[in-house]
């Protein structure tokens, strides 16, 4: 429970603390570690792809293995790296930015992270258990039903488990932001990071159910003998494409909106100016979120929806450029005339504007449906979405890592190494992906494991691979930086960047487990800045110093997630050798233990849910005396 003194704790108790924690700051660290691990894993897969494609007729990877690697690269990067890393920063910042002591449902927060971790582990176990999924990250049903073995089952079950975690976290953030803002923190005073988190969480709430349904249908087809996507039995594989993209397009906004939020904070902080056009930024964020649901079929222009459907979705897609453009111009206007400080996060933010805009422009090119017939399934598409996802989301993750590192760990990452990482990554990124636009226009299809000599692709692919190695070196420098920073452990004090504007920087570092001794009173946009300029630089309290309530730790989220993890193995091996099963698995050896494993796994989860439901857990009170002692210590340490 309460660990305020600097006592040394055993390794076991630290691990137990993290397994059972419901503290949003520790859950943020869990998301960061797990997401970082999967980011490196996805990066290694990317390197394998680029090594294979460096020279024509290469046999570094076989064709089948290449399919598995590209599928796992995409799936890992989207679901297991980018989203969890964004959740890490959301968890680390949002409750602090709105002046809350924790999220609305701390237990669910913990459940969300453990479902994601177990889902991610399950998906990656496929490498050791007979082959990874190989139908692309979109897993179109015509491919995924035919894919032999259990690869696709790992995809379906792994994403179902981690997707449930994401949905839970989304609901949690919506509730937290709506109900737990400090007095004076009106909607139009919320920092952009909080706003984008709110909109992204709303998108999660609306977008994940279609994915869940789609994956359930796929699971039923592959594991329990239904016929949703089996064309010979009257099914329709196009339904999967629609369900996937009804989820898939909002998904990319779920990724990019928090990235916009991180950059908005960084621009305002390091230009030392209020964010330009705050209300327009909020409006644009909400509008992008809304449009995100109306454009899914632009991923399916070549399916044959007909000219009218294509035209409607093309126009809707182009409309998204308007709010996004508003944002780009507002960021430029924010740095315009500001007193700019070129820190590592600011470098990423400045590089983000042109990089992301280039990705946006190619997006508008593809929105023109007739032109898209030319770009479709070529490297032009690969270049486009890497420009928006790497140039937007990954830049934001790296920027956020440097920017929020002191908030999460009370130390500073080395600026010099950070800048080396930035320049290597920036050049590597453009070297890798700029040339891929041209590769696509020259006719190189995506998702091919090799190409012939003499087609004019050799030099461009070699350049692309060289860029990928630069990015790999950049990540290695970053890892060295992190290890050095942790080893040195030089603590920093309050407001380490010196120009913090929002509420989270007004807290002592490391942030006490209860966040705020007294919930602060918010007097304007950028509340900490307001107090610096108009007050004495300290937040005013909105309540007297009293006992307050905090939630208890619990191991149940881990047990629930573990139960689903076990059940997934049962479900996966259930159809093996059954005569009603699809061809992909009906020839495998029957596994009579599959059904008991499924029942045991689900039983574990339900028992844990029952315990949670019927056993009251009322939490505990933090005593006023303890908080007073902490404040005194802080006063002495600060002098």
């Amino acid at each position: 429970m309460a660990q305020t003194s600097a006592q040394k704790k055993g390794v076991g108790s630290v691990i137990w603390e993290y397994l059972t924690t419901v503290d949003h700051k520790k859950i943020a660290i869990l998301y960061l570690i797990a997401g970082g691990f999967f980011f490196v894993l996805g990066g290694i897969e990317a390197m394998l792809i680029r090594i294979q494609l460096a020279v024509p007729n290469n046999d570094f990877l076989s064709a089948g293995l290449f399919n598995e690697v590209i599928t796992m690269h995409g799936t890992t990067m989207i679901f297991l790296a980018a989203m969890p890393l964004l959740f890490a920063f959301m968890n680390a910042t949002v409750p602090l930015q709105i002046g809350a002591r924790d999220v609305a449902f701390p237990f669910l927060n913990s459940l969300g992270v453990w479902l994601f971790i177990f889902g991610g582990i399950f998906l990656n176990l496929s490498w050791f258990m007979g082959g990874a999924p190989d139908a692309g990250w979109t897993s179109y049903a015509s491919l995924s039903i035919a894919s032999p073995g259990h690869g696709i089952d790992f995809y379906a079950l792994g994403l179902q488990i981690s997707g449930a975690g994401t949905l839970i976290s989304g609901i949690n953030f919506v509730t937290t932001i709506i109900t737990m803002r400090a007095p004076g923190m009106t909607y139009m005073r919320m920092p952009l990071m909080t706003w984008t988190t709110l909109v992204a969480s709303v998108l999660i709430v609306f977008a994940f159910p279609p994915l869940t349904i789609g994956i359930f249908l796929l699971m039923f087809d592959r594991m329990f003998g239904s016929n949703f996507f089996l064309v010979e039995a009257g099914g329709n594989t196009i339904i999967w494409e629609h369900l996937f993209w009804i989820f898939g397009h909002p998904e990319v906004y779920i990724l990019i909106l928090p990235a916009f939020g991180i950059f908005s904070e960084i621009f305002a902080t390091f230009a030392r100016k209020r964010l330009f056009g705050y209300s327009a930024m909020v409006f644009a964020t909400v509008l992008i979120g809304f449009y995100g649901f109306m454009v899914w079929a632009h991923h399916m222009f070549t399916v044959g929806l007909g000219p009218v459907a294509n035209a409607i979705f093309a126009v809707a897609t182009m409309a998204i450029a308007v709010p996004t453009g508003i944002k780009i111009f507002n960021w430029i206007a924010t740095i315009w005339g500001g007193s700019i400080e070129f820190t590592t996060p600011m470098l990423y933010a400045l590089a983000f504007i042109p990089s992301f805009t280039m990705g946006g422009v190619t997006g508008i090119m593809q929105a023109a449906a007739p032109a898209d017939y030319q770009y479709h399934d070529s490297y032009f598409i690969v270049a486009h979405f890497h420009y928006v996802i790497v140039g937007g989301v990954v830049f934001a993750l790296l920027a956020g890592l440097h920017y929020y590192w002191p908030l999460m760990f009370a130390t500073m990452l080395n600026e010099k190494l950070g800048k080396i990482t930035f320049w290597l990554f920036f050049f590597g990124f453009h070297l890798t992906f700029l040339i891929q636009h041209f590769l696509g226009l020259w006719g190189m299809p995506r998702r091919v494991f090799t190409y012939l000599d003499g087609q004019g692709y050799n030099a461009a692919n070699m350049i692309s691979t060289a860029g990928a190695f630069l990015m790999a070196v950049a990540v290695i420098v970053l890892v060295v930086n992190i290890i050095m920073t942790i080893a040195k452990n030089e603590r920093v004090g309050m407001d380490p960047w010196g120009d913090g504007r929002t509420l989270e920087w007004s807290l002592p570092l490391p942030v006490p487990y209860y966040n705020f001794a007294q919930i602060p009173l918010i007097r304007g946009l950028d509340p900490y800045w307001v107090e610096k300029k108009e007050g004495n630089g300290k937040m005013l309290p909105s309540e007297s110093l009293t006992d307050f309530h905090m939630p208890n730790n619990s191991i149940l989220p881990v047990v629930m997630s573990l139960g689903l993890f076990i059940a997934a193995f049962g479900a996966m091996f259930f159809p093996d050798g059954k005569d009603w099963a699809i061809d992909a698995v009906s020839g495998l050896d029957p596994k009579p233990w599959a059904l008991p494993v499924l029942i045991i796994g689900l039983g574990t989860t339900f028992v844990a849910m029952g315990i949670r439901s019927w056993k009251d857990d009322l939490g505990y009170y933090v005593k006023k005396e303890e908080v007073e002692k902490d404040l005194e210590e802080l006063e002495r340490g600060g002098k």
Partner: protein, 115 residues
């Protein structure tokens, strides 16, 4: 966790609260009665076949729509204050669901009918 505030109410406040609750109860009962009545009519129309089927279908769908609104607004408290976000979410959800259904009917099952 918020402590329960057990402050004493004045007589006027108590009376106001009682009046509010009476009004709430009356609304609940009226909407409940209305919904049963609508269900009976819909059932009767379908069972007795007094009017042709092509009229019965839109009428029944119309009654269903009214019932949904009564349900959400009176039984699930969407009419009350402090439910703006719930309302926004439900309406957005309805809108998206409707868009998806229309899209599915027209471009998946019927297949490009506007060619």
């Amino acid at each position: 966790m918020a402590e329960l505030n057990q402050e004493h109410m004045t007589k006027a406040q108590k009376e106001y609260l009682r009046k509010e609750r009476t009004r709430e109860m009356r609304q609940q009962l009226v909407s409940f009665g209305l919904m049963i009545f609508l269900t009976f009519i819909a059932f009767g129309l379908a069972a007795l076949e007094v009017i042709p089927a092509q009229f019965t279908i839109p009428i029944v769908i119309g009654f269903a729509f009214i019932q949904v609104i009564l349900q959400f607004y009176y039984f699930m408290h969407m009419k009350d204050r402090g439910h703006q976000f719930a309302k926004l979410f439900m309406l957005t959800g309805f809108y998206f669901a409707l868009a998806f259904i229309v899209a599915f009917i027209y471009i998946v099952w019927i297949g490009a009918p506007v060619n």
